[in-house]
Symmetry: C2
Subunit: 214 residues, 2 copies
DNA sequence: TTGATTTAATAAACAGTGTTTAGTATGTTT
DNA sequence: AAACATACTAAACACTGTTTATTAAATCAA
């Protein structure tokens, strides 16, 4: 009798929780679709609401504000990027792994410019982090992987024994981020409208040289 | 008689032109003040209008839209940055000059985060460029100076004779931009809240090493 | 100087934005 | 069946960039 009461109680609240998660996913799906098409600024709460045929106010029952919604998308984006790095585990040579990681990083950025924006350029999702910055640290597990690969490079004799892994990892990341963000934000027009991607690739090879010729 | 007529005619139209430029400068001054305090997104046309005690519509008589207003600010920002590079002309050794240029670039970015945003991260001013992209090329004269310094480094034997100057310049710029933009956009929190500036400096030294040990 | 005309400025509106509030149904519990 | 809780929304609030119609002033032609 008591057990039955609890089961019904738990059954309903569990269903409610499930429905709540389904609704959150529905909103997120619509947000993602619009965001990938038009970017953060041009994605409106009303647009998202229209797409799922709910009122705008409903969205605020599931997400605190637009920033938190974008943070949820950012988490998804990090998942996608981390997944794209999966093949790296099969590369034994650490320097080859490092090089391939750079290629994959650039590919991800160029193929998912809006997601890249969300992850590394927009302030909105970062402001939503506040206390719960675990999701950012979690998302940045790829940076740990980068550090590990650099460590492996040191052990394999590619870099000096005295190398500062943290600094080196930040240096590599900075270069990669700088390169793709200059490209994505249209700051490479100085090279002419057409040859920009070529310049990007040239610089990429250049940086590999810089790293390897130490 | 005829000459007098012309003089009056010209005198008025010249005054009008002068007054128009003064008004443009007045608007720009107000826009700059608000922008430096709150950034692009939070700077409103109404806010600018309030500050100069004119109606919002008046601003549209002097600037096509908000993007064009921000483009004018971007041009000013480039002027300021180029000026900050002035002292480099006094440095004879090309590698020391290159190193100092990096320091000045980072200093400018950290001391003028909103201006840096305008110059290298926001899309708004770039969209306003359209046909008249001369202002961007003009603003980027510092990039030519960077290329020149790298060329000098090659001649002085710091880099290989076969070095691709364009690619190397882009590589240096990408790294610098990546480093400061990761910092400015709060993506270096993985290093903890306090040590970020130290990490930035460490990486900077690291990159110099990478360049010099070739 | 007077009347016509161009110019400068604005009030008000338009179409949008993120977000909050008050109210209404529906589902759940007692 | 009555009391309560939940999900949802219409409408409003306070903004945003931008356009239009109108007014007042400066300039021009007679």
């Amino acid at each position: 009798m008591f057990a039955l009461f609890i089961m019904i109680e738990m059954g309903i609240s569990e269903r409610k929780e499930r429905e709540r998660e389904e609704m959150r996913a529905l909103i997120l799906e619509a947000a993602k679709h619009l965001f990938l098409e038009h970017g953060y600024a041009k994605t409106s709460i009303r647009g998202i609401a229209d797409r799922i045929e709910y009122s705008p106010a409903t969205i605020y029952l599931y997400y605190k504000d637009k920033k938190e919604l974008m943070l949820a998308l950012q988490v998804e984006a990090f998942g996608k990027m981390n997944a794209s790095f999966g093949e790296l585990l099969a590369i034994a040579d650490p320097f080859a792994r490092l090089q391939r990681m750079g290629e994959l990083y650039i590919s991800f950025a160029l193929e998912n410019p809006q997601l890249y924006d969300l992850m590394f350029m927009l302030e909105a999702p970062m402001e939503a982090l506040e206390c719960q910055q675990d999701s950012w640290l979690n998302g940045m597990q790829s940076f740990d992987f980068l550090k590990q690969s650099i460590w492996d490079c040191v052990e394999a004799g590619y870099f000096e024994e005295s190398a500062d892994i943290d600094a080196l990892a930040l240096t590599v990341w900075s270069y990669m981020h700088g390169l793709v963000s200059l490209y994505l934000k249209g700051r490479m027009v100085i090279f002419g409208e057409d040859s920009q991607l070529d310049r990007l690739r040239e610089s990429q090879r250049n940086f590999i040289d810089l790293l390897s010729k130490k």
